[in-house]
């Protein structure tokens, strides 16, 4: 691939997050797209310690992905402007597969850093369960892509390709993948926003029905409705809203090919590696400086690859690293204290923003029972498509 000069706008320390709003994720049959969106938005407004007037928010980025596929809601930024009474302010509607949320956040950060706006909203929302699960991502991918060459490729199949090859090359085991599910359910049981708030047993994960070999049911994240919102402002304005702003130290977004046939190998997500490098470079830190991370565990194998690709352990050792407890709350580098996609759920467009909320709560010492003690630097990682897009964000409790 071609190497080009990377982002030269130094965002570090220029932007802060001052409001954080989520709703409890789940199968929210009683709530509409608009209900979820307004609840997350109002929670974000309420979370601003020193208060904020809605009219101070000058622009919004709406992260939503599946809506344009299942066609339940109005397209354009009006999807947000109408239910939130945001008219006529500008709303950009962004779709970037499962990395939609973090890319919406990224664009809002750049807009604020540029001086275009003092306060911006980044909101992610997805109504996944107005269609049966088989017609959501599973069916969309298998039927909606290329008529022959992507025919039959479901979302779990993409990651199962990686799982089989990683097991073949590095000896990663099904038990190590099950540990990811066990850990994330254990964390999710402590998270009031999680879809599944209960622990699971290793043996139950191992004997679950097979979905896409070697991935069983407990290796897969659920189909979940949800919304999350954050309020972003310039760092020099942040103290007007809160004494505990969360600063953006680094942002990275990178692509890889979508077609499985164009991938160089099946043991690394190169978009993750590149997005991580860019975020670390911007923040001036390395993986060893990170206190906790929320990573994209759409499938258990994905978390194993993420752990390697973000530099928390060596390539090939992710399974062992997790099995040894290094990524538990209290471990060397806690990963997915929220329960991750596996337990918290994965409402596509909301996931990246929810990760920002979770890391911010830890940095503000507000994560209650799942608090990672002394957390000052946190990372979010959001992966989309077939690993064809990845967003990495580095957040800090103090300006670096």
């Amino acid at each position: 691939m071609i190497r080009v000069k990377r982002c030269e706008i130094e965002l570090k320390n220029k932007v802060a997050v001052v409001g954080f709003g989520m709703i409890k994720f789940g199968e929210l049959f009683e709530k509409s797209y608009e209900d979820m969106m307004s609840e997350a938005y109002l929670n974000a407004l309420k979370s601003v310690d020193k208060g904020i007037d809605q009219k101070e928010i000058q622009a919004a980025w709406l992260g939503t992905c599946i809506g344009s596929i299942i066609k339940r809601e109005i397209l354009t930024g009006a999807s947000l402007a109408e239910p939130l009474s945001f008219v006529p302010r500008p709303v950009s509607r962004l779709e970037n597969a499962c990395a939609t949320g973090s890319d919406s956040f990224r664009n809002a950060c750049f807009a604020v850093a540029s001086g275009a706006y003092d306060v911006a909203l980044a909101l992610g929302v997805e109504k996944m369960r107005d269609v049966p699960p088989i017609e959501s991502l599973q069916g969309v991918v298998a039927r909606g892509m290329h008529p022959i060459y992507a025919r039959g490729m479901t979302a779990p199949a993409v990651f199962a390709f990686y799982a089989n090859r990683h097991m073949h090359d590095f000896g990663t085991t099904k038990q190590q993948m099950a540990y990811v599910a066990v850990k994330n359910h254990k964390n999710g049981a402590l998270d009031p926003y999680a879809h599944f708030q209960r622990p699971i047993k290793l043996e139950d994960a191992l004997k679950a029905p097979m979905v896409c070999s070697p991935l069983g049911l407990f290796d897969c994240c659920p189909v979940t409705d949800g919304a999350a919102a954050v309020l972003i402002t310039r760092a020099d304005l942040a103290k007007k809203y809160t004494d505990a702003p969360v600063y953006v130290a680094g942002l990275g977004l990178a692509t890889d090919t979508f077609n499985m046939a164009s991938k160089p190998d099946f043991t690394t997500f190169y978009a993750t590696v590149e997005a991580g490098k860019e975020a670390y470079r911007m923040a001036g830190i390395g993986p060893e400086d990170v206190d906790l991370a929320e990573v994209h565990d759409c499938f258990t194998i994905t978390e194993i690859l993420d752990t390697e690709d973000l530099g928390f352990c060596k390539k090939g050792e992710g399974g062992k690293f997790i099995e040894q407890g290094n990524t538990e709350i209290g471990g060397k580098i806690p990963i997915n204290p929220s329960g991750g996609l596996k337990s918290k759920g994965h409402p596509i467009g909301a996931t990246g923003i929810a990760q920002i909320c979770e890391i911010s709560w830890h940095l503000r010492n507000e994560a209650d029972k799942r608090q990672v003690s002394g957390a000052e630097i946190g990372l979010t990682h959001n992966l989309g498509g077939t690993g064809s897009i990845a967003g990495v964000t580095i957040l800090t409790s103090k300006q670096l």
Binding site: M1, P147, F161, C212
Partner: protein, 137 residues
Amino acid sequence: MSIASPMLWREIPQLYRLIGLKCKKCGYINFPRMGSICLKCGSSEGFEDHQISRRGKVVTFTVEHVMPPGFEIPTIMAIVDTDDGARLMVSMTQAKPEEVKIDMPVELVFRRFGEADGLLRYGFRAKPIKESGDVKK
């Protein structure tokens, strides 16, 4: 999602004939075919049609047990590297799930996939090679 006949017609070279685009500059076989810029080197000097070899081996695979209506259960999907250096994603045929392994030799065979949107669907699938010598070039 429905597909109209122009798309299938446009894709005849790759769908029905297994013809990829070989970059005149770096020799990389672009498959699926996409526009006129080489994915590998970024050159737009041009491509020549390349008849992809029908013989290859499995790079990775999965056996899918949960599928939307209209698909075989299980469906076996594989990434195949052909002998001439192309890489494809295909479903497998005439294969037992428990027999499929990484590095297993396969042959690409033309098969009917059934009918959708009033159009017959055809394409290549990977079939395990049981014994050496039973493959046409």
